[in-house]
């Protein structure tokens, strides 16, 4: 089958790989590019576990055609923080018990980061709205909301 070359930026680094016809970005990132941080939960656009940003906007990797990111800027939870220094959101999630099984966490963090990048001082309602496309089944949303607000309110150390 004819494969399509895709070159794009992933978390600030140039990447190139071949995509299968109809392959979605989630499968492409995980199997062909090797970024395992976006997770498969539904393949239907319901759960948000595969949330990534494309040119700064959150999208669902399972519903994005892999070849459509050619030339685009893609960011995943794998790009949060710098080296050993974690993103304040990651620190805050650790401090506020905002991850239990950890499966929804990368997508949740991508949505939270996109929110704070666009709106550094969100209200509680805005936080809820921002993560409303990310399902969590075990942590419970309350610690997650608390962790995000702690960063927004500057109470979480950077």
């Amino acid at each position: 089958m004819a494969r399509t070359p895709v070159t794009f930026n992933l978390n600030g680094s140039p990447k190139a790989a071949f995509a299968n016809p109809g392959q979605n970005l989630l499968d492409f990132l995980r199997r062909d590019v090797g970024d395992l941080t976006p997770k498969f939960g539904c393949g239907q656009g319901t759960c948000g576990a595969c949330t990534v940003t494309i040119n700064g906007q959150t999208q669902l990797a399972c519903l994005v055609l892999a070849e459509a990111v050619n030339g685009q800027d893609v960011r995943t939870a794998g790009g949060l923080g710098q080296g050993a220094t974690l993103d304040p959101l990651q620190e805050s999630f650790m401090d506020h018990f905002a991850a239990q099984c950890g499966y929804c966490t990368p997508g949740m963090l991508v949505s939270a980061r996109a929110l704070l990048d666009q709106n550094p001082r969100p209200t509680r309602d805005e936080v809820i709205e921002a993560i409303s496309g990310n399902l969590c089944r075990c942590t419970g949303y309350e610690p997650i909301i608390t962790a995000i607000l702690a960063v927004a309110e500057g109470r979480e150390r950077a």
Binding site: D95, A99, C101, G102, T146
Partner: protein
Amino acid sequence: MKNMTTDGPMVEFRKDLFADERDDNLNEVGKPTRRQDIRGHVTGRSPFFDDHLFNGLLHMRCARSPHHHARIRRVDTTAAERMPGVVRVLTGRDVPVNLNTLLSLLDFGLDDEPILSETKVAYKGEPVAAVIAETEAEARAAAAAVHVDWEVLPHVLDVEEAVKPGAPAVLDIYPNNKFVYHGKYDHQKLRFGDVDAAFKTADHIVEGRYQMSPIEQAPIETCGAIAAPEQNDRYVCYTSTQALFFSLGTAAKVLTLPSSRLHFIGGTVGGGFGGKVDSIHEPLAILGTMLTGRPVKYAWDRAEEMQVGAPRGAERWYITDGVMADGRIVARKFTGYFDAGAYTRLSSYAIIKGVGHLPGPYTIPNVYADVYCVYTNRTPATAMRGFGITGVDFSIEAHMDKVAETVGMNPIELRILNAYRDGDMKAHRREAKNCALIECAQVVAEKAGVTISPALKAANSLTGGGGDRGALPVFTATDSEGRVEGFTATSYAKKGGGSGPENLPPVALRPTAAQPATRPAPQPRVETARPAPQAAAPDNPRPSEPADQTQKKPARSGAMRFSSLSGFRRR
């Protein structure tokens, strides 16, 4: 609200309760602490089963029954085998022991469920073939090309319809659609005192019918496993299982491999809630690897997770209470139906657990329960958070409200009045200890602004229990209703030594080996009913021996103990 602030306590510690039973100098409780695995979670590095890359990974998907109930005349895989990317198509004949052996591993019943069904399907979505292909899309397309010649059978989807005479038999080994308990009864019995006699003395009889639908665990990570050849003639299996050693044992039995040749890696589970204990994926993924020599992934997509992933089973309960005008419940009778779906999985166990929990956290001197594990043509049920308890607890508490309404009492007061207190005798003949329902109810009343009587506000779990409330019933009415013949307590007998065929491979327990159940006519009761014991009779001495002598002694000797896994068994 307290839990909505960003740094307020989410938990309120009531240090005033049971203060002298507890050392409050705690190192961890009440103090924030980081989970040991949380760095992996927030960096996305925690290795879930699918976070392992293999060169040449193959993908497995199953062809499934579109029917609730059908006989399989023929499975034709020739078209599927010719589809692009297809490496191999498996049917039941390829599975060394085509039977999920979870029940026998747990010592909890006859193994009854094929890995890939060959003769019959009993629920919509039951797998009949497994396609292994180069890509997931190719496996999906080829699975759709597996042709099955079905003979559609009548189906039954309701528990009470299923136990009626003439209902379609879901499983050949249980022609009446009821699991057989201990090789003796078609239901699990609880008999404590004499409910019928107590009903005659009660001021009110309160009846209720309650039911709940199946509940899908819906983990964000769907169930799955990846198997691959490993060095030293072993196979490695990365799995989402919640029960690594169930899965290891099941795979070893299904594949007739010594478990030393299986290297299972799990422990990082993307949400389980009970839905990942059934070891559905591991045996097939490993078998795929054994037959192709390549890594094989078998995972459900979301639709499969919802359709064929085993839920918490549906339950239906009938409850009848005998209640005195002052709110004391003197008798409680249950008839319960657990919907196991098409195969037993863990439903037989759930019922044992549920019956041990009756009549709820209340001291009721006469309790009776008949609880049926019923087969229907629905998705098999399995574990989910407190399964066996949740549905009946919902029923009991809804019923408590109904009782409160009947006697014109505040529902919180009714609960305090009837609550277990330390030293009381529970219906399953264990002493109640460390009770705290009264205190919980009092705090609820306080938080909800509900006024309760001074006497009940002053009540506590530490006093007022025991004495006659701690005594076993003087008389317990027993019966042989639901006695079945032709079954052996096969799996139980293994532990105690006795009649069971020990050490037989699980294949010997295939449906054809089992005998049909017959139902003898119910035996008339020989005992004369006695008046219900007074809930507060002051000088009823506690008998020195268990008072259930009216029950027949077990034929085999050996002390009984309660195992959380398998209920009562002999040691």
